[in-house]
């Protein structure tokens, strides 16, 4: 089913997705959108895992299981992150990341 598509295509796609996520992480101010950027990054990594698995080691399942675990980690991360965001919102009445700078000098 994947014939005719070189592995590089998947990797380039994942790279673009990854750096889009990085860009979002660096520029967005809302904590929730930052969380979304992180999800993008995780997804691109998943794509990489699966592409490598399929194209280079098709007889094994490591890539797939790693992706599976990454999805599980992402889910738990999202849950905790959202709990933290809600907590921050209660304390600071904002989820703008630039206003939450209590940890400075």
């Amino acid at each position: 089913m994947n014939t005719g598509i070189p592995i590089q295509y998947f990797l380039v796609l994942a790279t673009i997705m990854f750096f889009t996520g990085v860009y979002g992480f660096l520029t967005r101010r809302n904590l929730i959108t930052i969380l979304m950027s992180v999800e993008l990054i995780l997804n691109s990594v998943n794509i990489n895992f699966l592409a490598f698995n399929r194209f280079l080691y098709p007889h094994k399942l490591e890539g797939m299981f790693f992706s599976l675990f990454v999805i599980a980690v992402a889910a738990s991360e999202a849950a905790v992150a959202i709990a933290i965001i809600i907590n921050i919102y209660r304390r600071f009445t904002t989820i703008n990341v630039e206003d939450v700078n209590e940890m400075k000098f």
Partner: protein, 639 residues
Amino acid sequence: MINFSYTIWIPLLPFLLFILLGLAGHKLKPKLSGLFGTGGLAIITILSYITAYKYFFTSEKIEGAYQKISAFNITWLQLTDKLHIDLGVLLDPISVMMLVVITTVSLMVHIYSLGYMKGEKGFERFFAFLSLFSFSMLGLVLATNIFQMYIFWELVGVSSFLLIGFYYQKPSAVRASKKAFIVTRFADLGFLIGILILSFNTKTFDFITLTDPAGSAIAQGGGIAFMGLSVMTWSMIFVFMGGVGKSAMFPFHIWLPDAMEGPTPVSALIHAATMVVAGVYLVARMFPIYAFSAPAALEVVAYVGAFSSLFAAVIACTQTDIKRVLAYSTISQIGYMMLALGVSGYGGHEGLGYMASMFHLFTHAMFKALLFLGAGAIIHAVHTNHMTEMGGLRKYLPITHMTFLIACLTIAGIPPLSGFFSKDEILAAAFHNNKLLFAVEYIVAGLTAFYMFRLYFSIFWGKETHYHHTPHEAPATMTIPLIVLAIGSVFTGFIPFNELVTSDGKVFETEIELIVAIPSVLIGLLGIGIAFVMYRKESEISDKLAAIFKYTYKWAYNKFYMDELYLFVTKKIIFRYISEPVAWFDRHIVDGTMNAIASVTQSVSLRIKGFQSGQLQKYAFVFVTGAIMLAILFIYLWK
């Protein structure tokens, strides 16, 4: 051989008392702690008397000479097998004599203080310090080796410091205590250098080895010469420097008059009878070395003593503070002792000066302590130190008056009081050895009689001043020591010192030399007579004399500007040209380096703390950029 090992308790007991009173004194009632101190001292006084009796009358003599007995000795610091510092008790005629002097005077002062210091704040502290002093002084005189002596030498310095500064709320007392400590400490530097040179050359600290006339230490004398004098001489001059400081000889005498800021009993004990004669004791202790190896140093001793005695006597004639007059008198009398040592030889009749010096030390301790305690009683009665504000006190203070008169007659050298005998021996010794020094001492004898009776007449006769309240006689605790010491002053002159305390421990014959004795009594009487004329009644002679010798008087009144000279040397020269550049170097170079390091660190920190902005995205940006940089580095540049 009699067992003397119990003598270790003589210094230890006051030490234990010091610890007790120092640590628990504030919990005891003041009276109780005073009684503790006095009681402890009474015990060691009795012990000392027993020791003296046993030593002088029952211990065996070898070839008719008293032996040096090491009654107790422990090795304290074993540095190498040759170099070790011991602590112990050495008994010989002078140390036993000093035991008697110290314990007697100290006991009297303790009893006296019970009355004098009554109701003072820090009563128990006072007694604790007195005990510390007694411990240190006894340890000093009983020292078996020169290093132990140095340790206790410093300890008496400390206790003197503590007691001079007893009224520590008074700025003048604080100043005086600092002055005393610094001046004596400076002199002790010389002492230490002397000890080091001496022990380097003789390879021993031990007094018995050092002072054995036939021993190796003295045989080694001479040796290498430095600047025309042998090393031995130099070391003994340095050792003598320590004695000069402690005994307040010229030029280190400046601390003693100021030390009178301390309580009067302290002045009597430390600054008249015991501690200040430590210098004399030191020279006497090392006497064989002086006599055999360093005659030049001994000459220095003689001239320093003679000059100090004249110098101080002249100043004493002009002072009006009675305690200061007594302080200068003390300097003058110690000068006598030094001079006597300086003109003495070793052994037999040659050692007359040595004997005379010790004799005078003994009698002087009695009558000078008596004078100070009497002065204390007077001050106690009229609440002033200045004799210009006193007069006609003989009616109010009969006992003090009588004892003071006895002391004045004693110091003036009127027979048959003790001062006559001891002073006569000194003058005789000087007469036989050095006519110039004899002449100086002869004049000083007259001056002494004059200023003492100037003091006496101004206080007890003269015009009666108006007092705020009628002066009253001191309580019994104060008058009893006065009476005891007065008895001592009268009768100690009959102690046959020529049989007990001599340079080589052997008896020698001595008699009163009329050629010396009669003129000295005469000049003493002359001094008294002049004082009688000038101060018996209100008289203008003294003012006229002062006007005639205006400049001399002014110089003497201002103590020949010695304090100012010291201040000039220290402040204008040492501080300005040495200390200030050093301080500048310290503040600007040393501190500056440190400050520069600190300020550079601070400014760098101020700059870089901006990175810790709390902005999550900045951190992430830096992280991403760094990761990319590293990737570039590793992939393309680091092949």
